[in-house]
Amino acid sequence: MIDGEDDIVKSAIAGEASAFGLLYKHYQPRIYRFVYLKVGRREEAEDLTHHVFMKAWQNIENFKPRGFPFSSWLYRMARNQVIDSYRTRKAETSIDELDPDFLKSDEKTEHSFDMSLEVKAVRKAILELKPEHQDVLVLRFIEDLSVKEVAEALNRSEGAVKLLQHRAMEKLRTILE
């Protein structure tokens, strides 16, 4: 959450493009990552992320804080955008189509190469999970959202999120084994 986010959101609602720009720069990488990990292709993730922020800009006055960060609203829109894209065309994801440079690691050691392979395996395993398991794993372990924030973003109860998290981790381990 950005410092003074409520004021920035209010300014964006009033139509200040610079305020929306601040929100965009802070949240766009997270939304892109969330979408990318669900669809598996960079071009598609870029398109969907663009549509998410376009909708956010055009409907920002509908955002009601209710004590949750702006990101919860964005994640919810991103999730719906991905679901819509699944509906319009069948998702065809292959590990061969993955962008080999999607991980930017500064380390060049042998260990980092091994880790990169492991990360790629996890990345592939995430694509095999159910969408709701993907959502919880990405938001909890990659975006570091609290259970409460994830519950708000996914429109679920906190108990349901904890249960989904447990099942998602089990399923991920099973796939990796």
Binding site: G15, A17, F20, G21, Y24, K25, Q28, P29, Y32, R33, Y36, L37, R42, A45, E46, T49, H50, F53, M54, W57, Q58, N59, E61, N62, F102, L103, K104, S105, M115, E118, V119, V122, R123, L137, V138, F141, I142, M169, L172, R173, L176
Partner: protein
């Protein structure tokens, strides 16, 4: 933090292309915000939506409460013909007569029985075909119970002469 969570954490390194991000932001903030511009029309349609809902509920209530008069008003069928009292009187005026004309046993044919039931006569005479269990005939028969049956033996004797 276990190994799997550590690996998941490394996925944070996924970043969008910088050029794409800048271009996307410019496109977004330069696009018109239709909802902000059309605040008046949004409010107007919201009010119209609620108004239409209330009007429809009122119309439904009105139809439910006064449907009989509305049916009479708009129906292409005149309600006089649907008057239940008139229909009942008309039904009672129909002359329906069911008569058991006769049940007779022919002594010569112990198994044959003849039962005739006359159909309802609606102010006109009809020739009734008897229903016979063992006698087939193609000509209509009229059974008269008032005249005595001739003795079949006498008739046969007469024919044999």
């Amino acid at each position: 933090m276990n190994k799997l969570e550590h690996i998941l954490n490394q996925l944070k390194n996924i970043q969008p292309d910088r050029t794409y991000a800048d271009r996307s932001l410019n496109t977004i903030v330069n696009s018109p915000r239709s909802s902000r511009v059309s605040w008046f029309s949004f409010t107007f349609f919201r009010v119209a939506e609620y108004g239409a809902a209330v009007a429809l509920v009122g119309l439904l209530f009105f139809v439910m409460m006064g449907n009989s008069s509305l049916v009479e008003l708009f129906s292409p069928i005149r309600s006089n013909s649907l008057n239940t009292g008139g229909l009942r009187a008309e039904a009672e005026a129909i002359d329906i007569q069911i008569k058991l004309l006769g049940i007779d046993y022919e002594e010569s044919s112990s198994t044959a029985s003849l039962t005739t039931v006359a159909a309802p006569s609606f102010a006109r005479k009809k020739t009734i075909r008897p229903i016979a269990a063992s006698v087939e005939t193609s000509t209509p028969m009229t059974v008269n119970t008032t005249t005595p049956n001739p003795d079949i033996d006498d008739v046969l004797d007469l024919l044999s002469e």
